[in-house]
Point group: C2
Chain length 125, copies 2
C-alpha cells in the first residue's frame, strides 16, 4: 500500500480543498470497490462524487482530474467514444512488451498506451 492521494498532494504543494478530498476519496475507493479494471470517465466520477456532495460541479471534476494527472497521480486514456478515462495503475507486464516492440523497430520508448478489448473467458481458473 503506497501513499494516499492526499499525501502526494501535500508533498507536491497542491492545495487540498473539500472538493479535492472527496474526489480523491472516490478515486481510491473506485479501485477497491470496482476492482482493477475500473477506469471511470468524468461523468461516472461526477455521479459518484455527487452522492457524497451534490454541490460539487462537473467543472471542478475536470479541473481536479487534470491537476491530479499533472501531479502524476492519475493516467488519462482517450478511449473510443470520445470520453477520457482515468486510472492510477501501471501494468509492468505490458510495459515490458512495449519496450520490446519499440526496440525492435529502432525506437526508444518515451510513452505508451495499450488498449485491449476482450471478452472474459468462462473456463478460466
Amino acid at each position: 500500500m503506497s501513499e494516499t492521494i492526499e499525501q502526494i498532494c501535500q508533498k507536491k504543494g497542491v492545495k487540498l480543498t473539500d472538493q479535492r478530498r472527496i474526489i480523491a476519496k472516490v478515486l481510491s475507493e473506485s479501485k477497491e470497490v470496482y476492482g482493477e479494471s475500473d477506469h471511470p470517465d468524468v461523468d461516472e466520477l461526477y455521479k459518484r462524487v455527487s452522492k457524497l456532495d451534490s454541490r460539487i460541479s462537473i467543472a471542478t471534476i475536470y479541473r481536479t482530474v487534470k491537476l491530479f494527472e499533472e501531479s502524476g497521480i492519475l493516467t488519462k486514456h482517450d478511449f473510443k467514444g470520445g470520453k477520457a478515462r482515468y486510472e492510477t495503475i501501471v501494468d509492468e507486464e505490458i510495459e515490458k512488451l512495449q519496450k520490446k516492440v519499440a526496440e525492435k523497430y529502432g525506437y526508444k520508448l518515451v510513452d505508451h498506451k495499450l488498449e485491449l478489448y476482450g471478452i472474459k473467458k468462462l473456463d478460466e481458473k
Copy 2:
C-alpha cells in the same frame, strides 16, 4: 499489393461517387507519399482532398471515413488531443503480442489498439 479501395467498395456494394473516389485516392497516396507512419486526421484529410476538389465538404469526409471504416477499409484510432486518426495497416507483430497478453489474463481478444510514443534511435542500421 492488395485490392484498391475502389475494388473493395464495388465488392461490398458501396456506391462510388466522385467525392469518395477522391478521398480514396488521397488515402492510398498518403501511404505512399508519407510512408507507413502517416495516420491523417480528418482535418488533414480535408486539406489534402481540398487540393484536388475544393468543393468537397468536411461533412463528406466525416461520412466517407465512417463508411470506409464500416466497410473494413480503414481503422480509426482515438489518439490524445481528441482527434481521431485513420490508417489502413495492420501490424501482425503487435497483434500477436496482444493476443499473448490477453490470453495470459484470461481474455479472448476482440479488438485492440497500441500506441507507442517513441524517439527514433540514431545509431540504428
